[in-house]
């Protein structure tokens, strides 16, 4: 899409959103806002692209309807019923991502023709934002079950699910935070601040990311040529920096546009390069994912395992929970064993950090532990080690196993 049309579309979306939120009342506001965001989704992710994106949209809306029905019927039920509502969006995600396209090729002649041309074809990329939708929708079930919010109406739910600015890469916004934009006294979001976020995000995403990508794995090492071994750490560092610019840049734009439209969105990054250990890293990188996994997996699972293991082994219960959480984080990122390995690397880092902290507290005592954390030299070393560990772990994230073999084969 030409840039001028994109900018014009964004301006229209922002102005229309502000008008709808401030000037229209009742169910008309909810319905108009939902339709506005569906139009935004269409403009951003369907218009001018492969026809399959449009075809998938006809599945997306019924899917949201099914999720809504599950929410209405089961979210505030007793026993196992809320789990049904919770897992409906998760199962939809798992189905789209992991079931091979050949499974449903029999139903559509055109799909069969597509698979004959490209046996590795996957339909998952055409469901733009499905994983983030699954997180938002499942988290809403928890909020309803815990009494944080009332069950929403259909249009309110549709507008929340299809909120265009955060559809593709988040941040993962809770329904309760999202609805603050609809309050009688919504949070004041300075327009200048939001516009600067969009501008800075665009610079990071479009310019700095592209600049750094010239010497990442794909830009440097996977070029069919031999390389000095030093190119591997260069690519590793540049990939980490590129991923930050790319991901946080897009999130900056999403946060900024959402803010201009009148909807508050939580932050997703907080100086991740300053992390002093892997645990701190995940409090600074993709923060909303960390919070989701903490609320949805870590908290309940750690309680269950702690009861099972007993008080004497609570540290092991926590360690096991951490490992499960990060394996899930890994496989959520993509289909492939390399993603599981990436999750495993972070699980290892988290578990080591967990036991290291436990050991230090026992060895140094509480005051000694505080002094250790305050030591600037130790802090600097910890930050450097964490940066290196994360950069190295992203080697697993960025490359398939075949690409990893290729990279090692060209190093001299």
């Amino acid at each position: 899409m030409p840039v001028r049309f994109l900018i014009a579309g964004l301006v229209i979306y922002i102005l229309a959103s502000r008008f709808v939120l401030r000037r229209i009342k009742g169910v008309w506001r909810e319905a108009t806002f939902a339709l506005l965001n569906m139009a935004g989704y269409y403009g951003l992710f369907v218009h001018g692209r492969d026809g399959r994106y449009g075809a998938v949209l006809t599945v997306y809306v019924p899917l949201i309807c099914v999720q809504y029905a599950a929410l209405r019927l089961f979210a505030d039920g007793k026993g196992w019923k809320p789990l049904l509502a919770f897992f409906t969006p998760i199962l939809a995600l798992a189905f789209v991502r992991y079931v091979p396209a050949s499974f449903y090729a029999g139903f559509k002649g055109s799909m069969r023709a597509t698979l004959l041309k490209d046996p590795g074809f996957s339909i998952a990329p055409y469901f733009v934002g499905l994983s983030y939708l699954a997180f938002r929708a499942s988290h809403l079930v928890l909020e309803v079950r815990n009494g944080v919010v009332a069950k929403p109406g259909f249009w309110s739910y549709l507008g929340f699910c299809m909120f265009a600015p955060t559809m593709a890469v988040g941040p993962i916004n809770s329904f309760s935070n999202f609805r603050r934009g609809f309050d009688v006294a919504p949070p004041g979001i300075p327009i200048g601040r939001a516009m600067l976020r969009v501008l800075v995000g665009a610079v990071k995403f479009l310019f700095l990311g592209s600049f750094l990508n010239q010497i990442t794995y794909s830009g440097l090492l996977l070029d069919d040529h031999l390389h000095h071994w030093i190119d591997l750490p260069v690519a590793a560092v540049c990939y980490y920096l590129y991923l930050y610019c790319n991901f946080s840049g897009f999130c900056d734009m999403a946060v900024g546009v959402a803010g201009l439209a009148g909807i508050p969105v939580p932050e997703n990054f907080q100086e991740p390069f300053a992390a002093r250990n892997v645990k701190d890293f995940w409090n600074r990188w993709h923060i909303t994912l960390s919070q989701y996994m903490r609320d949805v997996v870590f908290s309940p699972l750690s309680k269950v395992l702690a009861r099972q293991f007993g008080p004497a082994n609570v540290n092991h219960a926590v360690a096991l929970t951490i490992a499960v959480v990060f394996l899930l984080v890994g496989v959520w990122h993509g289909v492939g064993w390399n993603y599981a390995a990436f999750g495993g690397a972070h699980a290892l880092g988290m578990v080591v950090n967990h036991y290291y902290a436990v050991g230090l507290k026992r060895w140094l005592g509480w005051e000694g532990f505080k002094a250790y954390n305050a030591n600037r030299l130790i802090h600097a070393a910890a930050v450097a080690v964490t940066f290196s560990y994360v950069a190295a772990s992203l080697f697993l994230f960025a490359n398939t196993f075949s690409e990893m073999r290729t990279i090692f084969s060209v190093l001299r």
Binding site: L208, Q214, L222, D224, H225, L226, H228, V234, C238, G259
Partner: protein, 376 residues
């Protein structure tokens, strides 16, 4: 919502970082940049046969009799080993004929690569064709965008003078391309690229994509054993030789006697591309190299009795340029539309059938032009 920067100091640091990156090409003198040969030895094979071009431009030293330079139109159009063989017979010695080609058209890429070629090897005749705006794709006629390889090929310190006279958008596009090229340049400052090994070329790429052999084994040219499909590569190739075919005498060179066989559309070439095209002819003149503009056939001109070109290139390029081609009605004579499609794999790229048919028709004319006196 958090502000974009936690403090004015952080905002200042961000601005300084951006400024430093943006100024890199302008600040980097030639001494800071690695030798130009490192550009070619670091490009992936999938982006083009640049390691082969590296060998031809920087390693091989013998004079080149004829160089076919340009993008995929001419890359797939000429059977270079055939031309070399014919020229060798004519000269009574081993001739040196090479295809210096790459994917995607653009006079800018042609200029940068021709510049490197002519600075390193003496070339007697340069045969070019790169009207990327494609006579059958009107939506591309007005595009004036840099070549996809310009971040590598254009280095501000080497060629800043080419930006003079360009529209501001073109200057910005090339400059930003140079900014994107700086990471690889700066990395090459720290260590040299390891030597590109032609034998380690990713041959599967050529076989899988074009059903062709490694161009390094065919003096740079490539054939495509692909059938015709307007939208994608069609592996169903059928060998075909036209029967009621054209003769080599049907090929012609533009002159007052043959001007009725040519027509010039008058669609102006985009400004920056035209600027590069003029620089190519000026460069060739400086190096004593003859330039021939070779018209390559496309399916869309079947039935036309004239060779159609966008512009009258000698005037447009301000150069004494020879233009040669085969009138389409003669090239396609005796063929049905279905027969004609057997010579192409997409509407403006000859496949192996077309290359084998076209090359012997045009070669005698090219050999005559090789002998023609060079007018500086």
């Amino acid at each position: 919502m958090s502000p974009a920067f936690s403090s004015p100091k952080q905002a200042g640091e961000f601005a300084l970082l951006l400024l430093a990156i943006l100024l890199l090409p302008a600040l980097a003198s030639t001494a800071w940049l690695p030798p130009r040969e490192q550009i070619y030895s670091s490009v992936p094979w999938m982006r083009g046969p640049y390691p082969y071009l590296h060998q031809q431009i920087f390693e091989e030293k013998a004079d080149i009799d004829i160089a076919f330079a340009g993008s995929s139109f001419i890359w797939f159009g000429i059977d270079t080993p055939y031309v070399q063989q014919e020229l060798s017979v004519k000269l009574g010695r081993q001739a040196v004929v090479r295809s210096i080609n790459w994917p995607f058209p653009g006079f800018d890429a042609l200029y940068f690569i021709a510049q490197d070629l002519l600075q390193n090897r003496k070339v007697r005749m340069l045969v070019i064709y790169d009207d990327y705006l494609g006579r059958d794709t009107p939506e591309y006629r007005e595009q004036d965008a840099p070549h996809s390889m310009s971040p590598r090929l254009f280095r501000f310190a080497d060629n800043s003078e080419v930006l003079a006279g360009m529209p501001i958008q073109s200057k910005a596009a090339y400059y930003f391309g140079a900014v994107l090229g700086m990471p690889r340049n700066l990395l090459s400052l720290c260590r040299t690229n390891l030597e590109a090994d032609l034998s380690s070329a990713n041959r599967a790429y050529w076989e899988n994509t074009y059903n062709a052999s490694d161009p390094a084994k065919r003096l740079g040219s490539m054939y495509a054993r692909l059938g015709f499909d307007a939208d994608r590569y069609n592996p169903k190739f059928t060998e075909y030789t036209p029967h009621a075919a054209a003769q080599s005498s049907d090929a012609c060179v533009f002159s007052p006697a043959t001007k009725a066989l040519f027509r010039f559309q008058g669609h102006p070439t985009p400004v920056s591309q035209l600027q590069f095209a003029r620089k190519i002819t000026k460069l060739a003149k400086k190096h004593g190299t003859k330039v021939v503009w070779l018209h390559l056939p496309v399916i869309g001109e079947m039935g036309s009795s004239v060779i159609e070109e966008r512009e009258f290139w000698p005037d447009a390029l301000h150069a004494d340029l020879m233009m040669a081609g085969i009138p389409p009605a003669r090239f396609f004579q005796g063929m049905t539309a279905e027969d004609a499609r057997k010579l192409f794999f997409i509407s403006n790229h000859l496949n192996q059938n077309g290359q084998k048919y076209f090359t012997p028709l045009i070669t005698p004319t090219l050999l005559e032009l090789y002998d023609a006196p060079f007018k500086p």
